[in-house]
């Protein structure tokens, strides 16, 4: 065309695709290398998930805490308890003295089973009277207890072969010398929703509270509005409380939605006290908000804030007992789990909604939440500066 200068070779629109693509790829890698946090997450997250799913998470959990309420002290009873241990499914945590004590243990979630051995159990076995023993299970999480119940049933045929020799030999073998009565408490029909819905309150509160507040400060920093805020007479505590307060309300609205839907769609009850649940939820919300706020004082931008929240959220879901049985995890994973507020809140919310747990049952969990909240709040206030230094 007349008057049109020659287009230089390198600028021809359909040439040099690979060169331009390469430029773009190089630029992305340089930026990725500078973004330490993203880089760390690329490496740490797969490792973390591998450790959790490989070692910590167990769908057929063993070493579950059990309390024995025994009214019989014969050799047969002692032998039975020992065999129970041998299955590997049970950790005998406590010898309960009274039925009331045993109930409290299971309600507070400290044990998942109570085994009641009736008076004269050994004598009745020898007489061939087929005595009953009662295994009370906490059925809120059907996955956790299923394997253990099967193991007790399996025991029956193989037991007492030593004691039942001689004149009693005909009692050994079929039918089993005792009758196992299993009483599934709190969720007898083993409906998964019953267990999931209260847990979901905890998970959703963790997610929203953490992400909303972790974005709160970084958003102001990123948009430059923090500078004007700091130039006003607002104090750091006022900024912090002002940022957090609206989300407390948001948290309760979310909770109300889940509880209402759980009740009308899945029939999840609220067995215990609503007042206690609200009070402890308040503490749980405050703990998460403080954590989110702390994150937002560390993160340099909104992306980092979301990454850090995610970093906390992931173990919270996997290690708190929300998705997989808490008792099934090895000791080190349980130790980490105990550090997470969600772990304690799950026990609280399941305890109150499903088991009718009361304050004395939940003291430990309540104090754990308070301790977490105070620690994180102190860090948040110390981290937040009134100046831009």
């Amino acid at each position: 065309m007349a008057g049109r200068p020659d287009i230089p070779k390198h600028a021809r629109p359909y040439r040099g695709f690979t060169r331009r693509l390469w430029a773009m790829i190089m630029k992305e890698f340089i930026q990725l290398r500078r973004d330490r946090l993203t880089l760390a997450m690329i490496v740490i997250i797969p490792f973390m998930e591998l450790m959790l799913f490989g070692y910590a998470i167990n769908m057929n959990p063993k070493h579950l805490p059990i309390a024995i309420l025994s009214a019989d002290n014969s050799d047969i009873t002692r032998d039975f308890v020992a065999s129970l241990k041998q299955t590997g499914y049970f950790d005998i945590r406590q010898e309960a003295r009274t039925e009331k004590q045993a109930d409290a243990l299971i309600r507070s979630g400290r044990v998942l089973f109570v085994l009641q051995i009736p008076p004269g159990f050994g004598r009745d076995i020898r007489r061939g009277a087929r005595p009953q023993i009662l295994l009370v299970t906490d059925a809120t999480d059907p996955v956790a207890t299923g394997g253990a119940i099967a193991a007790v049933n399996g025991l029956a045929g193989r037991l007492f072969l030593r004691q039942l020799r001689g004149p009693h030999a005909d009692l050994a073998g079929r039918p089993p010398p005792f009758e196992l009565v299993v009483q599934k408490r709190y969720n007898p029909a083993a409906i998964t929703a019953i267990n999931i819905v209260p847990g979901l309150i905890g998970v959703i509160l963790t997610m929203t509270m953490l992400i909303f507040t972790s974005l709160a400060v970084t958003r102001e920093l990123e948009r430059g509005t923090m500078e004007s805020l700091l130039a006003t007479p607002l104090r750091p505590s006022e900024i912090m409380l002002g940022k957090i307060a609206p989300y407390v309300l948001v948290g309760f609205v979310q909770m109300a939605i889940i509880m209402a839907a759980g009740r009308f769609l899945f029939g999840v009850p609220l067995t215990g006290s609503a007042g206690l649940l609200l009070t402890l939820t308040m503490i749980f919300i405050a703990a998460n908000l403080s954590l989110g706020y702390t994150i937002s004082t560390i993160a340099r931008n909104q992306l980092q804030a979301v990454q850090m929240s995610f970093f906390f959220f992931l173990p919270s879901i996997l290690m708190s007992g929300f998705m997989f049985p808490f008792q099934g995890m090895p000791a080190w994973a349980r130790f980490i789990g105990e550090m997470l507020p969600l772990t304690h809140y799950l026990r609280i919310v399941r305890g109150i909604m499903l088991k009718g747990a009361e304050w004395p049952d939940l003291v430990q969990e309540g104090f754990a939440l308070v301790a977490f909240m105070i620690t994180v709040m102190v860090i948040a206030v110390l981290r937040f500066r009134q100046t831009l230094d």
Partner: protein, 315 residues
């Protein structure tokens, strides 16, 4: 009010600030009188913003002392914040709030009585009427800047600290902005304003030129020009010839600054004699006309930067 407040609204001495090992402000002394419009000039990264932030208590100085409105800048920063209007370099109001909501928020934060009324009054006073329900993020540059100024003066401060308030604003809006500043100064408000624009610098009562964390010159614009004793020449001719001269003029004796000003080349230097000889040689060898011109404020600043930079003299 504390001591010193009568004479100087800003009275600071030897301010210093480092970030890590980087010294940003190295001993800044400033005295600004009541009702004055004080221009704060200097290249990017020279320490203007850092100094302003120290004045309003957003940064704690590493060294130096001083008072703002009679309050100690380290110990009484909260009282300073109550009486200062600070306009940040970048727009720092909430983009997702409307004009009126932004103003009402600021009014509440400063504890002003009847915040909604005050916000509405300010909208009318600052000529924002008709835009009160528009989201601040959707305003154009000039309107954003006017909103930011409105938010600064809402709480009736006695001192305004404006950090490059007119960056990226069109000439008409700039002119109107400066009219507002002069009106505010006439009401007795003291204004410290940082800028890169020479025409704005010339609208200030006094100037301070900061470079590399030190103040290199201060005083009214005219005084700054005369004390530098710079001589300047205008060289006119055909554009290719001028472009050729511009390329090598800086190596000629007596020449320090070479810049195009519209149709001519502006050449400037501190040694009048040497420069004059160079100019005469140029006129005799090239087909250009040379005539003496007035040194500009910009010449003075570039000269100060060239000679006073690094570890040079601080005034």
């Amino acid at each position: 009010m504390a001591q010193g407040a009568e004479e100087y609204v800003i009275d600071v001495e030897g301010l210093e600030k480092s970030f890590g090992s980087h010294k940003v402000v190295r001993g800044v002394t400033l005295r600004v009188k009541r009702g004055e419009i004080y221009g704060f000039l200097g290249p990017n990264g020279s320490g203007k913003t850092t100094t302003i932030r120290m004045l309003c208590g957003l940064l704690t100085p590493d060294g130096g002392t001083g008072h703002c409105l009679g309050y100690d800048i380290v110990r009484e920063s909260r009282l300073i914040k109550l009486n200062v209007g600070y306009m940040t370099q970048h727009f720092s109001l909430y983009a997702d709030l409307t004009v009126e909501e932004n103003l009402e928020f600021v009014a509440r934060v400063y504890g002003m009585p009847a915040p909604r009324e005050l916000a509405r009054r300010t909208v009318r006073r600052m000529g924002l009427a008709g835009r009160e329900d528009q989201l601040a993020g959707e305003l154009s540059g000039g309107w954003k800047q006017r909103l930011a100024l409105s938010a600064c003066i809402l709480h009736e401060p006695k001192l305004l600290l404006l950090d490059e308030p007119t960056a990226g604003v069109d000439p008409k809006a700039r002119r109107e902005f400066w009219d507002s500043i002069h009106e505010l100064a006439a009401e007795g408000i003291t204004v410290l304003v940082s800028t890169h624009y020479m025409d704005e610098a010339e609208r200030c009562h006094e100037l301070a030129y900061i470079f590399n964390g030190r103040i290199l010159a201060r005083g009214p614009a005219k005084d700054i020009i005369t004390t530098q004793h710079l001589k300047a020449w205008a060289v006119r001719g055909a554009p290719p010839v001028l472009a050729d001269i511009a390329g090598r003029a800086r190596e000629m004796p007596g020449v320090e600054i070479v810049t195009f000003l519209g149709d001519h080349l502006h050449i400037c230097g501190p040694e009048g004699g040497a420069l004059e000889t160079t100019m005469r040689d140029l006129c005799s060898t090239e087909s250009v006309r040379c005539e003496p011109a007035a040194a500009t404020l910009e010449d003075s600043f570039i000269h100060l930067m060239n000679s006073g930079g690094g570890d040079g003299r601080a005034s």
